[in-house]
Amino acid sequence: MMTTQQPGATTIPDPQGAPAIELVGLEKRFGSVHAVRGLDLTVAQGEIVAFLGPNGAGKTTTIDMMLGLSMPSAGTARVFGMDPRDAIGRGLVAAVMQSGGLLKDLTVRETVDLTASLFVQTRSVDECLERAGIADIGDRKVQKCSGGQQQRLRFAMALVSDPALVVLDEPTTGMDVTGRRDFWSAIRQDAQRGRTVLFATHYLEEADQYADRIVLVRKGQIVADGTGAQIKAMATGRTVRATMSGLSDRQLAAIPGVDSVELQGDSVSLHSKDSDAVARYLFANTNARDVEITARGLEDAFIALTGDDDQQGA
C-alpha cells in the first residue's frame, strides 16, 4: 500500500477552486457504437444545469462516466478536480437514478439510515425524510411505496450525505405535481448553499423553469449550451407583435434584425433572432404600441436542435 513519492508530487485534492464538473474530450465506444463523441463541459460550483437530449444521445453514458460508474474510452472526467471515484468516496457527489437502486425489504427510514452509515459527514435522517416529504412513511416497506414515493426516497438518500454535487437522471419521474414542486423547492434551497445540480430530464418545461443553464446533447456531442432563453432564441428566434400603422411590409422587413413579417391590418408580427434590437427600433422610430415579445417553447427549440436529420440515431 505504501508508495514513495517526491515531496510536492503528492496531489492533495483542492476542491475549493475546482469546477464541479470538468469533462474534456470525453468519448465512449461500445463496440461499433460511438455513444459519446468528444464532449467538453465545464460546470462551475453552484450552477443548476439541465442536460437535455433525445433518447440515445449519450446523456446517461456521460452521466455514468461523470460518476465513475464507467471508464471513458478517451478523454477525462473530473469532479471537483478529482477522479469521480475519489469525489464519491468523500461524499462530495450524490446521484438520483431513474429506477432501481432500492431494497424492497427495507423500510424507508432504514434505507436512508443505511445510506447515511456509509458517509463520514451526513445530515440527520429525519431532516432528509422531512425535506423529501416522506417523514410520515418512514416505517413503510419500500415495496409498498408508490413510484413517486420511491423517487422521493431516492432523493432523501441523495440529500443525506449533504453532497456538493447532485446528479439527477429524470428526477421527477412518477412524482405528482406536489412532489415536483417540493422537490424543486428543496433543490433550489440547497443551490443557495453552493450545491451544484446537474439533471437530465424529459420535462423540457422543467429544464427551462429550473435550470440556470441548459446543455443540449445530440449524438454524443453538445449542440447548444446556454440559458433557456438563449436556447429558445437560438433555434427559433422570437416574435415581436405590435399594433402600428404607416409602414408597408417591405419597410417592416427592412428593419435591422427582422427575418420575416406578417401584417394584418394594424397588427404586425415580426420574427427575429434579435428581438431586443427590433423592439428598440420600433419604440424609437415608429408609432408602435402594445408591443409584445414572445418566444416559442423550449420544446420547439429542443426538437429543432436535436432533430435527427439523417436517420442515423445512435
Partner: protein
C-alpha cells in the same frame, strides 16, 4: 444566477462543506451490518427453510433413532444432527449468496457504488451476514441434539460444530452462482428444491451409512458429499479420506468460478 422571485427561499448561511474525509474501513460499519442481519431475520421464507426445516427434520428423523445402524458403531442421532445442521447452514449461506446477485439485478449494487462503500467492504458485510445466518441453524440443531441424547466424544462436539458451520457457509458460492444465472427472486425457488435434491444425493438427507454401494459411489461425485463427510469426521473417527477435501475444494471452486464467469459476462455489457 437565476432569480427565483416566485419562490420563498429560506437563506441558509452554512455553505456546503467541500473538505470531506473518506470513511474508515471502506465504509464498513455496524449500522450496515445490523440492517443486513435484520433483513435476514425478517425474511420468513429464509428462516423456515434454514432454521425450522432442519430442526423439524432432526426431531422427526434423528431423535427417533435409538439403535445403531447395521455395521456401524456411531450414534445415528449425532449423525443426523450434523447432517441436518449442515443442511440448514448451507441453505442459509446459499440464500445470502443468491441475495447478492438479486441485489445486483435490482440495481442496488450500482447504488452502493455511488457511496464510499468499497467492494471489499461490501463482500465483508455479506460474508459476515452469511456466516452468522449459517451459525443459527447449526447452534440450534446442536443444542437440541445435545438435549435429546445425541452423543459423541466431548472433543468431537466443538470441532464438528465448527466444521459444519464453515462447510455450510462455503455454499454461499452456489447461491451466488445460481443467483447470477437466474437474477431474480426466482433464484431461491430453484435453489430450495435444488439443494434438497443435492442433500439427498450427497448423503445428508439419506445417510451414506445405509446407502447401497452404487448409491454411495454416485453420492461421492455430488457437491455435498465431501464437506458433509468432513463435518462428520470428528464424530465418526477412523481415517480421513483426502478425497473429501478434494471434492469440497473442486465443487466450491467450480461454483465460485461459475459465479465469476456469469458476473463478467454481465458486466461486459454495461
Amino acid at each position: 444566477m437565476t432569480d427565483y422571485t416566485a419562490v420563498q427561499v429560506v437563506p441558509t448561511a452554512e455553505h456546503i462543506n467541500l473538505d470531506r474525509k473518506v470513511p474508515a474501513h471502506g465504509g464498513f460499519n455496524g449500522r450496515l451490518l445490523r440492517i443486513e442481519l435484520l433483513r435476514v431475520l425478517r425474511n420468513k421464507r429464509t428462516l423456515i427453510f434454514t432454521v425450522l426445516l432442519p430442526l423439524v427434520f432432526y426431531v422427526a428423523f434423528g431423535v427417533p433413532q435409538s439403535s445403531k445402524w447395521r455395521g456401524t458403531d456411531f450414534d445415528p442421532k449425532a449423525y443426523e444432527m450434523i447432517s441436518f445442521a449442515l443442511y440448514g447452514a448451507l441453505a442459509a449461506s446459499c440464500a445470502i449468496g443468491a441475495g447478492v446477485a438479486v441485489e445486483r439485478a435490482q440495481g442496488w449494487s450500482r447504488q452502493l457504488r455511488l457511496t464510499p462503500l468499497s467492494g471489499p467492504s461490501y463482500i465483508a458485510v455479506k460474508v459476515i451476514t452469511a456466516m452468522i445466518t449459517a451459525a443459527l441453524p447449526v447452534i440450534i440443531v446442536f443444542v437440541i441434539g445435545a438435549s435429546t441424547g445425541a452423543s459423541m466424544s466431548t472433543g468431537a462436539w466443538p470441532v464438528s460444530l465448527l466444521l459444519t458451520w464453515i462447510g455450510g457457509s462455503l455454499f454461499a458460492s452456489l447461491g451466488l452462482f445460481v443467483g447470477y444465472l437466474v437474477p431474480s427472486e426466482n433464484a431461491m425457488q430453484i435453489l430450495g428444491p435444488g439443494i434438497s435434491l443435492l442433500a439427498f444425493a450427497g448423503g445428508i438427507f439419506y445417510p451414506l451409512a445405509v446407502m447401497s454401494d452404487t448409491m454411495r459411489t454416485v453420492a461421492s461425485f455430488t457437491p455435498m458429499w465431501g464437506l458433509s463427510q468432513i463435518a462428520r469426521y470428528p464424530m465418526l473417527g477412523g481415517s480421513f479420506d483426502p478425497m473429501w477435501l478434494v471434492s469440497g475444494v473442486v465443487w466450491i471452486g467450480l461454483f465460485f468460478a461459475g459465479a465469476v464467469w456469469r458476473f463478467r459476462r454481465d458486466t461486459s455489457r454495461v
